[in-house]
Structures are given as C-alpha cells and as structure tokens.
C-alpha cells in the first residue's frame, strides 16, 4: 500500500469547485443553454386580499403564439407541498387571493419580447377585501408553541422586574443569483427540473404532488447555486412546479428565471416579529424568572412558519440558566407575501430580545452586563428552558473569554460629531433539526468504491457556497486514508442520489458529514476483504440518549449547541444618526473546524448579514407589498460598509460530530444585531428596541432623550 497521504480535515484545502468558480466555467441555472427552450413568466395578483372575479385574455392578441397555464392545467393537487396544504400553486378564477404577488397564471413563449407582450394583454378583475396588514390586526393563528419550566409567578415582591418589548423587521436573503428553474419534458412522462436550490427532494415532492408524477418521473437536479441562506429552501418548489407545468403544456423545455425585481417582490422573507419580555431578578442579579411572549408574522400562507416559531421559542430565553421560564409563542397570518426560511430561522429574532434584556437588567441593577452574563450563562450540566441537560460541548465561557481577550482597546473617534460605542452579545444556536426532526427524516447517503480505485459520495446535500463538496471530500478522504483527488461527488440529482435531507438547519457537516465519515470507514474496512465496485448506504440513527417530547416541548431540543460571543464597535454620527459598524470580533465554539477558512467564511458572511439586518436592510410596506423591490432600494452592505471582522475559532468537541464538529451555518446570524444595539447605547445613551436601527430612528431617539 502507498504511504498514507497528509490528512485534510482541519486544513484549509482549496475549494473543490473553486477553479470553475474563478474561471467562469461554473454553470448556474441561467448559464445552461437548452436548445428550443421557451421563456416563462408568472402573472401575479396586484391586490393583497380578495378574489379573482375574472381573467380576460385580450382577443386582439394571437394566443396561439404562447402557452397559457392556469389552475385548471394542474394534473395533481393545486397545492405547494410543504407542511400544511394551504398554499395553492396557482389561484383559480373565482379563487381567493391572500397576498400581493400571489401567482395566478403562467405564460411561456419562444422569446422574451413575446411573453412580455402577452403579459400586457391579460386583464384580471378582482373583488377587493380588506387586508390584514400587520401583526397587530392579525387574528388567524398558524401555530403556537408553549414552553414551561418551573413556575413563573405573578407576585414578584422584593424583586427587580424589567419589562420590555422588542421588534424585528423583514429581511430579504438577497442571494446574488435570483431564483430560477428550467423544466425539460423527457420520455416516459419524465420531467427534469434543473434549478437554483438547496433541497432537491423538497422540490421532488412538490413536483410529484402537483404534476402527479412518480418517484422516477420527477427528476430534480441542482445546478451550481449562487447563494441560498434559506431563501432557496422551500421557495424553489414553486418555481420548479411552475416551470414544469409550462413545460408539460408546451411539450418543450421552459426557462423560468426571475429577475431581481420579481425576486424581491414575490419571494419569502425573514419573519418579522414582536417579542415581549418580563424578567425578574433578585437585587444581587440572580435570575429568578423569564416570562416571554413572541408573535411572528408568517405572511399569507403557512410555509415553514411552525418550524420557525419552534426554533424562535426554544432559543427565546437566551444562553442562560433560569429556574422559571414561560415562553408563549404564536405565529399569525397577514395578507402579505408568505415569509419563510432565512438563516437562523427564528433564533435571531428571539435572541435579539433575550440579549438586550440582559443589558436592560444590568442597567437597572447598576451591574456590568458582562458580569451578569457570567452569572447567568448556561454551563456544562445546566438545564435549558426545555429541560435539556447540557451534557457536553458547552462553549459559553470559552467564547466570552476569547472575545473579550481579542477585543482591542477602543480608540476615541476622529470627528467631534461622532460618538463611539461598544456592545457585546452571547448566543447559542442548536445544531441540526429540532427535536425529532432528524429521526423522522432518516437522512440517507450512498458511498461507492468504484472499479477504477476512486470513491464517490452520493448525497442530496447541496453546495451553496458553504463548502459541502469540500468538507464531505475531506471527511471521506481521511476516513479512507487517501488523497482528496481520489474522492468525487455524484451530482445532486434525485435520480442518482438518495435523500440525505435538506441543506438547512446547520446540519450538513454535523449530521450528514458524520454519515459520510461512517460510510467511508465501512468501505475502507470492506476493501480489506472485497474488491470494488462496492456500495453502502448510511442512514441517520437517532442516538437513544436524545429524548424530545413534541407535545410538551420538553427534552433535548437539539443534539448539541454551538456558541458565539460577539463584540461590535460602532460609530454614530450625532448630526445624522448614521450608524457605522467599524469592527466585529466574534469567538465561536464550533466543536471542530473541519476547514478553518470555510468555517471563518460562514461566520464572516453570517455576521455581515446580521449587520445589514440590524442597520440598513429595511422593507417598508405599501398596500400589502414591499416598497423596497429593487436593489436600488433594498440595500445590503457593500465592501465599504462592512466592518473589519475578526473570527476566533474555538474547538470544544461534540462527541457525535465528525471529528467533534458542530453545525455553525446559522449561529453567526444571532450575535451581531443585539451587540450593535448595545453599542449604539454605549455611544449615545439611547436604547433602541427595534431593528433596523435606521438613522431616522437613531436621531429621533437621541432627540427625545
């Protein structure tokens, strides 16, 4: 046997598809030429609530030049397959409209000009109804979660009681590649959909349901995907089904590629919410009780809202140990476009409030909020709000210590009108699916030893920039004792690979990566006795030490938590209220950095998204739709806006993660926003309770002081 090559786990090896990405060879959905493909377009509601009275196709236009798809053309169920069957694929004539931009018709034509012309020849008449436009006026509840620990009493005599209400806003994922899919009808009733997506099997299920296809007839292939962040978790099912319906009717391939305006106007956003806290402490700072109420706005349809609410509720008490906790959470419906998955998935929202409560309580007591965190923080052996005993890999003290050590001495500002401030946050984030999610999913991968001596990973887990292909290759190569170039991955094509579950929930490295590692190890063993080709499948098996009760919301909500402490430095211009985040230091307990540069990359990118959410990413509503529907009006940070970000990786291993690794994809979204608000307070003396902390809000708050 050849001498063992240098191992790759823990080293920042070059990104496997990196050469393609830097040369323009990488093929994203719209780069893929499909001869004879027509162009598709979605016709959407212009009202927020009501019904379709009539749909008229102007007879002056030659409709034989185009294909028109309505709800009547849906062979299967007119349902977007997800959790609850409440969202139609297309609203039928006479049907109910629940949000602006709701899809009604689809068009396809040989060229874009014709499809645009056809679109302008469609007249839709509506019966208007009064829309429910915000959380305050919402009555329909999608789901509720109640978490209870100990007993929260009303009589808090002798305690300091701090009450505060916080608000968090909408946020667009703003992947730089807009949504898109190409549907290709093939022989034997097969429809192949190539798309920009995170979860091939979600799309597969949606196609089967709406187009009445068998497992083999629906084929979903993920193309190189230009960012997802949750925005391409569930939404691509709609794009894919729409493209497939057009392709089916046209009898030819159809490209349905959104432009940025449509993507901004019509696709899912982060759930906005209102979070109310009532915290009781003893005068010495001992935490006595947390009483928390959460209301999230799900938009018009359920989508993934119950799961978002679940994660928000489970994280709502923060990274702290409290004997008495009551969390009452509900998600309500409004006549706005449905909200959906976005990195963090409810936790950034509730942790924003939890972290600022620490600041407010510390202020009331005249204590340092860092000292208060030291007093309250969850440590090894402590019990969370759901009654989970944290039996391993609790990095709270490690990250707090590391961040404080790394933070440099603050310098005074260089202009007389600018004030400088610093804020800190301590957060945790459950890695993997909530509760019984992984158990229900039973994610499965395939692993092959090929006749030519190389190895192949078969997984539906997608590369969306976070490094899936590289990390899985590292895990496989090291388990096999071979070089990285001996390992390949099969395409993320549902006709080729089993369902390893969606690429979400900070699970890919920790849960699926572990399966890759196990499969590779098994193949290595078998190769001692057998010759290739060999194939194994590995499915997730829930360890019997994880117990979760879905009805009482008690037990082990997540297999393990990752931890982060973030320190933010801001400059506030007192004449304009402009907030500039100049520096971020963040210490992250990731269990094990399988690929340090990629781990840092996740942290840096997630932190900047959180900075944007806290400062400049604002969506204003008008008539049930988003006013900020172009990149000129929905602003994300440029390189000039971005703070210097320093990341400290702390390896505090988790026994079940590959090499001890924990999922960290979403954690970076949780810390910066409350740290920035605390920093604004440090600079100006004012407390904001709402993000984004726009200059308008900052200036008004300073003026009313």
């Amino acid at each position: 046997m050849c001498p063992a090559p240098v191992t790759s786990v823990g080293r920042s090896v070059p990104r496997r598809e990196g050469a393609d990405k830097v040369t323009g060879r990488a093929r994203y959905t719209d780069d893929i030429a499909v001869p004879g493909a027509w162009y598709g377009r979605t016709i959407r509601s212009t009202i927020a609530r009501g019904a379709i009275r009539s749909i008229t196709l102007d007879p002056a236009f030659d409709w034989s030049r185009v294909v028109v798809v309505t709800a009547d053309d849906i062979p299967g169920d007119n349902v977007v397959q997800l959790i609850r069957d409440d969202q139609p694929v297309l609203v039928p004539s006479g049907g109910e409209i629940r949000h602006k931009e709701e899809p009604i018709l689809l068009l396809a034509a040989p060229d874009r000009a014709t499809v645009e012309e056809a679109a302008s020849q469609i007249r839709i008449e509506y019966e208007l109804a009064t829309p429910v436009s915000d959380i305050g006026s919402a009555t329909l509840v999608f789901s509720t979660v109640d978490i209870s620990k100990g007993k929260v009493v009303e009589d808090l005599e002798g305690m300091e009681v701090v009450e505060r209400t916080f608000r968090v806003g909408l946020q667009e994922q703003l992947y730089i590649e807009p949504q898109g899919a190409i549907a290709i009808p093939e022989a034997n009733g097969v429809i192949r959909v190539i798309g920009s997506l995170q979860c091939p099997y979600y799309v597969h299920r949606a196609l089967k349901r709406a187009l009445k296809l068998s497992d083999q007839q629906a084929v979903v292939v993920q193309a190189e995907t230009g960012g997802g962040f949750g925005g391409k978790e569930e939404y691509p099912s709609i794009v894919a089904v729409h493209a497939a319906l057009l392709a089916r009717k046209a009898g030819r391939p159809v490209r349905l590629i959104y432009d940025r305006h449509e993507d901004l106007a019509a696709t899912t956003k982060r759930h906005p919410g209102v979070i109310r806290h009532r915290t009781a402490v003893k005068k010495d700072g001992t935490l006595v009780s947390q009483d928390i109420e959460i209301v999230l706005d799900g938009g018009a349809y359920c989508t993934l809202t119950p799961v978002v609410l679940s994660r928000a509720a489970i994280h709502a008490a923060g990274a702290y140990s409290c004997p008495n906790v009551r969390i009452r959470a509900r998600a309500v419906a409004t006549n706005t476009p449905p909200n959906g998955a976005f990195r963090g998935f409810g936790a950034p929202q509730s942790l924003f409030a939890a972290e600022l409560m620490v600041e407010h309580v510390a202020e009331r007591l005249g204590m340092s909020s860092v000292d208060l965190r030291r007093k309250w923080m969850l440590r090894l052996g402590d019990t969370t709000a759901t009654g989970q005993v944290l039996s391993e890999s609790v990095g709270s003290e490690l990250v707090l210590h590391a961040a404080l050590k790394a933070a440099q001495t603050a310098q005074p500002p260089n202009r007389p009108t600018v004030r400088r401030g610093r804020g800190l946050s301590l957060v945790f984030h459950g890695s993997g699916f909530t509760g019984s999610g992984e158990k229900k999913l039973q994610g499965t991968i395939g692993f092959e030893a090929l006749a030519d001596g190389t190895f192949r990973i078969l997984t539906a887990s997608t590369e969306i920039g976070q490094g899936t292909k590289t990390i899985f290759s590292q895990l496989a190569a090291d388990a096999l004792g071979v070089g990285l170039d001996m390992v390949t991955l099969a395409p993320q094509d549902t006709s080729l690979v089993p369902d390893s579950g969606p690429t979400v929930a900070s699970r890919t490295a920790m849960i699926v990566g572990r399966l890759v590692q196990e499969a590779a190890t098994e193949i290595r063993e078998r190769l001692k006795r057998e010759k290739p080709p060999l194939r194994v499948e590995k499915s997730y098996i829930q360890p019997d030490t994880i117990h979760w009760d879905e009805t009482t919301y008690r037990g082990d909500a997540y297999p393990v938590y990752a931890w982060a402490c973030t320190i933010a430095d801001v400059d506030v211009d007192m004449t304009t209220g402009e907030v500039r985040v100049t520096d971020l230091v963040t210490a992250v307990d990731c269990g094990k950095a399988l690929h340090p540069v990629m781990a840092e990359g996740q942290i840096e990118g997630g932190c900047l998204q959180a900075v944007g959410w806290a400062t400049i990413e604002e969506i204003k509503m008008k008539d049930g739709g988003y006013q900020n529907d172009r990149l000129a009006t929905y602003l994300i940070p440029t390189a000039l806006d971005a703070p210097r970000i320093r990341t400290i990786l702390i390896e505090n291993p988790y026994s079940r993660g590959p090499y001890g690794a924990k999922g960290i994809g979403e954690l970076p979204m949780d810390g910066p926003a409350p740290a920035i608000i605390a920093a604004i307070h440090d600079a100006t003396g004012v407390w904001l309770d709402e993000i984004p902390a726009t200059p308008e809000k900052v200036l008004a708050a300073c003026a009313s002081r």
Partner: protein, 148 residues
C-alpha cells in the same frame, strides 16, 4: 459591428441597443458574466472595456464597437490561473461564486495600479461589487495578498 472579446475578434449583427450582458451570455456563449440585478447595483455583470471596469447591463453593445472587452474567461492565461484567481480559491474569497467573476475583474483593475494597495483601497475599489456570502473579509485578504 466588431469588437475584441478576450483577445479574440468577434462580430455581431444584431441590434446595437441590446445590452452587452445579453450579447455576451446569449449570443457569444460567454456565460461567466452574470446578471444579479439588471440595475447597475450589484456588479455581478462587471466586464472590462479597454481595461476599465463597467457594468455590462448598462452598456449597449453598439457602444463597444472597436473596443477590447475582457470577461472572467479572459483572465486565466491559456488555462493557467492568475495569482489573484489562485488566491481567491485558496483564501476562501469565493463561496457560492456568483459574484466572483465581477469581483475578479474589479480587483484585477485595482491591482494594475502602480502603488501598494491598503485594505481601505480595496474596499473602495470593490464597492460596486456586492457579495452576500463572504462578508468581504477574505476577498480583501485575497486581493491584498497579490498587491505589490
């Protein structure tokens, strides 16, 4: 009309009012240049015209008559990656990669200048290229690793 694309002479017979972005992607098979917004806000469609970085979604193809266009496909010298492209791969400056072509071209122009770049220079020079994945940190590292 005629122009040069990555050192190769090309001719184009369609309407001069079409966006250069569309002609590159649809007529000339050069899909390395991406459309992120169509508004001149994101820089994903950046190309070089006679060495100057511009958004190709804002250029009418007729305007590049006789000019030298460079796209991401024209950076590597016959398959050999430039130091900048190599740095992008190794230093984690490319994650999902969709902003990478435009980012490389803007950075390439920055590195052509005569003086040593600072981090602030790089931030300013890349201000027209949005990235959602990286937080820009490793992009700046990669560019600085290539400066004089």
């Amino acid at each position: 009309m005629r122009f040069t694309l990555n050192g190769r002479a090309v001719s184009f017979a369609g309407s001069g009012a079409r966006r250069l972005l569309d002609v590159l992607r649809e007529d000339l098979g050069a899909t390395g240049t991406k459309e992120g917004c169509g508004e001149g806000e994101c820089g994903a469609c950046s190309v070089l015209i006679d060495g100057e970085v511009v958004d190709s979604c804002l250029i009418a193809v007729g305007q590049v008559e006789g000019r030298e266009i460079t796209t991401v496909e024209g950076l590597a010298d016959g398959g050999r990656l430039t130091a900048l492209q190599q740095a992008f791969i190794e230093r984690g400056a490319a994650q999902c990669g969709i902003c990478t072509p435009g980012m490389l071209l803007a950075a390439h122009v920055l590195l052509q200048g005569s003086r040593r770049l600072t981090a602030d220079d790089v931030r300013e020079g890349l201000a027209g290229n949005l990235c959602r994945c990286t937080g820009y940190t490793k992009i700046i590292d990669a560019v600085l690793s290539c400066t004089k």
